[in-house]
């Protein structure tokens, strides 16, 4: 058996799963989004569904909201993760414990976290009750609106809390591989501590940070359950809107749901491709 056939055989299960489930699902979604749906009597593909959603103010507001949620969550999570990784790189008493705590919430499902946020931060939640007991607020209406709010603060908080450890772990692995020698060189060449970070360490971490952030962005942009629980009634985040259109009793809205899904996937993929390209160019 040649190396090439061995590699092909070893990869086959993963490729089958990817091709069979993911790609054929995506292909079917693509067909439906072009209004090709023989069961409903739609046999002439066209761009009607895309035209309909792109001219609908509701869709555009949802798109804007989802972009806001994903961008804000990603930027905040990336900054906090960078700080956490740099702190956790140093050795100090209790580091192992803090490391463990940081990683712990990776194992908590998003839905569970979302319900937790709801219990803690809603106007009738635990923090509001504490504030009331302490005499800080007179009633639930005085507590700031942090969930189901127009700025999606609850959603963003949850994503930041969940994704900081994810990005931080990738950065920590990077930091371990890089070691401190490049920074030492920079210092001995006259760079201050800050310059060594800004001009040497940060650029060297950038590819890993960008890749991890892109994954977080794509996830926050496309995930459905968190904005369903913590989001406002209108506008809804894009995945929630798509799900609603898909489960609508009017089967004619299904192509629009598919078109929305394709838009979500396309934006995520475009972002990942951009990051991959930037990382490749930076490494040359």
């Amino acid at each position: 058996m040649t190396d090439r056939t061995r590699i092909a055989l070893l990869l086959a299960p993963a490729l089958l799963l990817l091709g069979g489930l993911f790609l054929s699902g995506l292909g079917l979604t693509l067909l439906r989004s072009f209004r090709y749906f023989p069961a409903l009597g739609l046999t002439e593909p066209d761009l009607g569904a895309y035209a309909a959603i792109l001219t609908s103010p509701g869709f555009l507001r949802s798109l804007g909201l989802s972009l806001w949620i994903a961008s804000a969550s990603t930027v905040l999570a990336a900054i906090l993760a960078l700080v956490a990784a740099l702190l956790l790189r140093q050795s100090f008493p209790g580091r192992a414990l803090i490391s463990f705590l940081v990683q712990l919430n990776l194992t908590i499902p998003h839905v569970v976290g979302a319900i937790g946020i709801l219990y803690l931060l809603s106007q009738s939640g635990a923090f509001a009750r504490l504030a009331h007991a302490a005499g800080l607020i007179a009633g639930p209406a005085d507590f700031p609106v942090l969930v189901n709010d127009p700025f999606a603060i609850g959603i963003i908080l949850l994503y930041v809390w969940k994704e900081v450890p994810f990005i931080a772990l990738i950065l920590l692995a990077n930091l371990q591989t890089l070691g401190e020698d490049h920074e030492s060189v920079a210092r001995s060449l006259g760079a201050t501590r800050w310059q060594a970070f800004r001009h040497v360490l940060l650029p060297m971490l950038a590819p890993g940070l960008a890749a991890a952030s892109a994954l977080v962005f794509a996830f926050a942009f496309g995930a459905y359950e968190v904005p369903l629980i913590l989001g406002q009634h209108a506008p809804k985040a894009l995945p929630v809107l798509a799900w609603q259109a898909w489960t609508d009793t009017d089967l004619a809205t299904r192509p629009e749901a598919m078109a929305m899904s394709i838009v979500i996937a396309a934006i995520g993929l475009a972002l990942l491709a951009l990051v991959a390209r930037a990382v490749r160019q930076g490494g040359e």
Binding site: S184, A186, S188, L189, G190, T192, Q195, P203
Partner: protein, 349 residues
């Protein structure tokens, strides 16, 4: 030109039983190229990092001329260090790497570009200015690392095993380049190496460090002709040691009374002679010997000899050794000028 002085420099790493460095005193003459030589684990790299300010000493002082730099951060010491690996910044071009330190100082871009271009020309890398580090060979990368430090015109340049990552041909070339650049610039340079041949070929002065202590600081030839101790002699390839006693210009030992050169101390001691100083054939201090083994080493031939039940090793020109065969009786002579007396090792009678 700057003199570098280390005074009582000591360092013990947290958790390590043995100190890495026990109170090192060393003066590196202004404008000299000094090798800090020692086996691995002898505290050489620790010394470099202390001078560069990358770690802090437990005790002692580091001075440039009369100014202490002990408490200054690395970037304000006027000391540049080149590490064992080139450690180029992968996200910068060759020119970007060489200009890094100048950029950190906030120099104007056109001045940086001019200095970088001149430096790259000097290390013959002008053609590669726009390359990324990943596209360089090991020798090229090491030259960039050297240029990156030299372009700053540091008061003191530290080189940590700069040749060890290179293969033999590149090593010769790099050694020549370091020597030439050091002579041109006159920058006080301290180079760490574990290889005594490299230290001899490269440096004006050698400081030998054994077990965290400076055991001899001298010109390279002194380590062969006048080693300070048996350990020093052995580090430089010394193999012949005879215990005995010096009296009235002669040395009494198992081989009889040997004539010494004038000026050597009297009393008990350890006589040593370099293997390459032993002559085959009659001469001063002649001794009857039996050939035990003959080993061809390329540029030399090693002859193991038995003299009065005592083993001596001689290194001779290849053609002088090859006609010999084991068991053969020969006469060897030990020129008095090549005999050197060492203090008796501690614990010996």
């Amino acid at each position: 030109m700057t003199r570098l002085t280390l005074k009582g420099l000591a360092k013990r790493y947290a958790g390590a039983g043995q100190a890495a460095l026990h109170g090192l005193d060393l003066t590196v003459a202004s404008g000299s190229l000094t090798a800090l030589l020692g086996p691995s684990g002898s505290g050489k790299t620790t010394t470099m990092k202390l001078i560069a300010g990358l770690i802090a000493p437990d005790a002692g002082d580091i001075r440039l001329d009369d100014r202490s730099i002990r408490d200054l951060p690395p970037e304000r010491r006027g000391v540049a260090m080149v590490f064992q690996n080139p450690l180029l910044f992968p996200h910068l071009t060759v020119a970007g790497n060489v200009g890094f330190g100048l950029r950190m100082r906030g120099l104007a871009p056109d001045r940086i570009a001019a200095s970088v271009a001149a430096m790259l020309a000097r290390v013959r890398l002008s053609d590669l200015a726009d390359r990324r580090p990943a596209q360089l060979s090991g020798g090229q990368a090491q030259r960039v690392a050297l240029a990156r430090a030299l372009v700053l015109r540091p008061e003191v340049l530290l080189l940590d095993e700069p040749l060890s990552s290179l293969d033999a041909t590149l090593r010769d070339e790099m050694r020549g380049l370091i020597r030439d650049l050091q002579r041109e610039t006159g920058i006080t340079t301290l180079v760490v190496t574990h290889d005594q041949a490299e230290a001899v070929a490269l440096a004006d002065r050698i400081a030998l460090l054994l077990d965290g202590r400076l055991v001899q600081h001298d010109r390279p030839e002194a380590f062969y002709r006048r080693p300070a101790s048996e350990a020093v002699a052995r580090f430089f390839g010394g193999v012949n040691f005879l215990p005995g006693k010096a009296r009235g210009g002669r040395f009494d030992c198992a081989l009889g009374a040997l004539d010494l050169a004038p000026g050597l101390p009297e009393g008990p001691g350890l006589l040593t002679i370099r293997p390459e100083a032993i002559r085959l054939g009659p001469g001063p201090n002649p001794l009857p010997a039996r050939v035990q083994a003959v080993t061809f080493l390329g540029t030399q031939t090693r002859v193991d000899l038995g003299v009065e039940g005592f083993a001596l090793q001689a290194l001779v020109a290849p053609e002088a050794g090859l006609p010999l065969s084991p068991g053969q009786e020969v006469t060897v002579s030990l020129p008095p000028s090549a005999l050197w007396l060492l203090p008796r090792p501690e614990g010996a009678a």
